[in-house]
Symmetry: C2
Subunit: 216 residues, 2 copies
Amino acid sequence: VTVAAPDSIPADVHADVMSATGEALRECGYAGLTMQEIADRAEKSKSLLHYHYDTKEGLLVAFLEHLVRRFDAKLDGTADAPPDERLADLIDLLLPDEDDEDWARLHRVLIELRAQAPHQEAFREQLNRNKAFLQRRLAETIEDGVEDGTFREVDPDRTARFVLSALDGARSARTTLGDADDVEAVRAGLAEFVLADLRRSGEGTERVDPAAGDDD
Amino acid sequence: VTVAAPDSIPADVHADVMSATGEALRECGYAGLTMQEIADRAEKSKSLLHYHYDTKEGLLVAFLEHLVRRFDAKLDGTADAPPDERLADLIDLLLPDEDDEDWARLHRVLIELRAQAPHQEAFREQLNRNKAFLQRRLAETIEDGVEDGTFREVDPDRTARFVLSALDGARSARTTLGDADDVEAVRAGLAEFVLADLRRSGEGTERVDPAAGDDD
């Protein structure tokens, strides 16, 4: 997957630094991370890192942005599939593969960054941007399904937030508590309760709709 | 609400220390917390705290256990309601009240403890016990509903894990990213997709059941 670099940084430098940052975070965690560690792994000088990314926090914000760009690049190939398949694919891509220890180590660090977010505005803003991106992707897919009749009428943004919350809870349980059963439960729950329900497009509107009272 | 103390600690001492720990965590966060701070707020000596709780980690584990016991005590009054009401009540109790700043400050600290869980076995074990308790409460309620015909046939444990993951994701978004919209989206999503679906008890079994293939 090709991931774009920020305008001010040469693409090959950025690619090396992002890859080195991922490695360093998986190996050293957030607390143990230093600019020197990343510079060594990227085979760059520490002053070059400071020149392009300013501080360690700046580099971590760039890394969070890199993660969401990489995810976006992965989605490019699936744009032509029907909405229900695209939604199922998005859910699969956002759930961890149980045996992927690299995934687990990186996400343990992301949870630490998230725990810092209330106190670190730059992390909070970038994490909110990443979340808004994922929400938009889910909501657009749901909206496409409502428009072409694959899905029943739902509020796309609210449904996207609900789906993303369930995925996020499962990722956190897997990452911090070592409980992988929640991942399978969320996979099954989203298929059984959300996807199956959304597909009931032709069956009338007798369902409870909590938004129905919001119009007045 | 009356909350039981561990056998080895006088109930009034434990109540004072737990209340002081909650205050200290909300005021100082996890990083700034000291035994002295808690001792001062509880009007006890630091050596008494060490005598009863051993280390700061031991005291925090006792505090996590206290939180789940307090939650349990809150549920006592609702045991006689019908299963669908009890499930809706449980969901409400587990979702933050938007304006409760005390709740938000305490939960920011709980997210920090959770981020420590991969490296701190004692936190991880207690957080897993707390999670197992909530899961069991949700699963028992769902099971009661399946048995008395209020709900359709579902896997109670798996459904409980799914519901809890969504609640957890919403709490984390509210707490770390300041995004309260997810709380309302999860409240609405659980009502619209899960509770409404569970109540379709009399409408046959044409629904997709991802567990159907697991029996062989």
